[in-house]
Symmetry: C2
Subunit: 296 residues, 2 copies
């Protein structure tokens, strides 16, 4: 399917953009107006964008329906401070309730059952029930348009982060399984960023990998190894020299070579199967020697 934006309605674009750029982290943002009336509302057009200076960006967009603006946006024009409260599974129902369109001046802390906690550096309260509360000063608000559906980039400079000790591991790192963050997808979907959903990938070495182009052709065309397997072989920082491959072949693969002496195709498959197993065990160097042994 192809969607040309110049020929599409805002509603259609909204639907496909919000179900394509997923999962989106959720900012539960507290603000106040010039009279001190507090507001609380969630935004998933949100992320961190810089560490130095530390900048978060979120977008209280103009409503597609009638081009009205949100109270958060109006408040930020009057009072340039906010708290970005991180949303976890325990408070996701209350967060959802706070997104209802309560009348101007209504305090969503009260409506959604949240507790106001005084901030240290700004005059906007934080959400006690949120595991991470980030006090911010707003540097700039950039309007991306003036029609319904137009975003407003709020550039929020982080002044101070409050992190619940209960979500830290023994090294004072945030443990995603204790944080239990949730995120927004399209339609009515949310996702959990913990438990079964979590996995780890090693960061690529400072030394760059050898690349797919360094792998032999029959390895690239393997019926056993998937692209994700090949990617791990191609991440190895340097090509392994022939002598080393030969040594590995003699010690570890002689039985396999003997077994398939008369059938090169079967040997290739056997070597790739063994390599796949080694990749699963995160033994990339041996896996690479295993596939290279075929032509050695």
């Amino acid at each position: 399917m192809k969607i040309l934006t110049s020929e599409s309605q805002t509603q259609t674009l909204f639907k496909y953009l919000t179900s394509s750029v997923v999962p989106r982290p959720i900012a539960l943002v507290s603000t106040r107006d010039k009279h001190g009336n507090v507001n609380l509302s969630p935004f998933s057009f949100f992320n961190v964008f810089s560490a130095n200076p530390p900048i978060l960006v979120f977008s209280p967009a103009r409503r597609g329906r009638d081009n009205t603006t949100k109270h958060t946006y109006e408040n930020l024009l009057e009072h340039k401070e906010c708290v970005v409260n991180i949303v976890n599974f325990d408070i996701v129902e209350q967060m959802s309730l706070s997104s209802s369109e309560f009348a101007k001046g209504v305090n969503e802390f009260v409506k959604a059952g949240f507790t106001e906690l005084e901030s240290d550096h700004i005059s906007v309260p934080r959400v006690k029930e949120s595991p991470i509360q980030i006090e911010c000063k707003v540097d700039q608000v950039i309007a991306l348009g003036d029609q319904g559906g137009a975003g407003n980039l709020v550039l929020a400079r982080v002044i101070c982060m409050h992190i619940d000790d209960d979500i830290l591991d023994s090294d004072k790192n945030i443990d995603p399984n204790l944080l239990k963050a949730v995120a927004r997808l399209g339609q009515n979907y949310y996702s959990k960023a913990y438990g079964e959903a979590l996995f780890q990938l090693n960061k690529p070495a400072q030394n760059v990998g050898i690349g797919f182009d360094a792998l032999p052709k029959e390895v690239l065309n393997s019926k056993v190894l998937l692209a994700s397997d090949l990617a791990q072989l191609a991440s190895w920082p340097e090509m392994i020299d022939e002598t080393e491959v030969n040594e590995y072949k003699l010690i570890e693969l002689s039985e396999l070579f003997l077994e398939h002496e008369d059938d090169a195709k079967a040997l290739e498959i056997a070597l790739h199967k063994k390599a796949k197993l080694l990749i699963e065990q995160k033994n990339i160097e041996q896996a690479l020697m295993c596939v290279l042994a075929f032509n050695n």
Copy 2:
């Protein structure tokens, strides 16, 4: 734990910001320089920020280590087009490989085993293996600072979206279980936004909910109902009138009232347990009548 940004090093801020604002969607961005050399690199400082105009924002930040800039950033100053390719589980290993710091001019499509596909409206190739490819023209690049760790907001206007038919359901909506999107957390963590991780919440009604402040005090202090249960009761659009509650009490709750005739505390707990069950069954109206019946 409290982190004051004015007293913290960039590295520390980076660590806590990237493990707090989670999970972050991943843009695998293809660009080209003025000579036509292609580059491909992933960014998790990324989100959609507007539907009208349709705008994605991502940040190829200055390196914290040595304040050098990324090839993606340099290319975008020379040639203001890019493709944002969405990353799913099938290509996450290749995406990770493409994030290695290959030398300037090296084509990461080749190194990471991706296939270049010609774009329809711009002269930058898309990633064939990505389930959603978004052709963009870059409106603006906003530098958030000039030191190591400074973000650069790339405002990318969407021209055209290519969506693989295989990830659409029968209504032509994107099915998250077919898309299999992955996202970035802190440290080496990633998360899957499909399968067990998915859940749904009904969008709050256009009619706003009654709010926590409309619930009786003994319900707010319930030992049975959690804040997430109360949030669902408080989302009901209007208070239920006494006559209706009485009718429900007579028909559905008379046995419960009879059983606990002499023990108000036990009755309250029994009513809240029944309400909790009804909330789990998404029968919010009856759950609300159930807790209101106590004082009726």
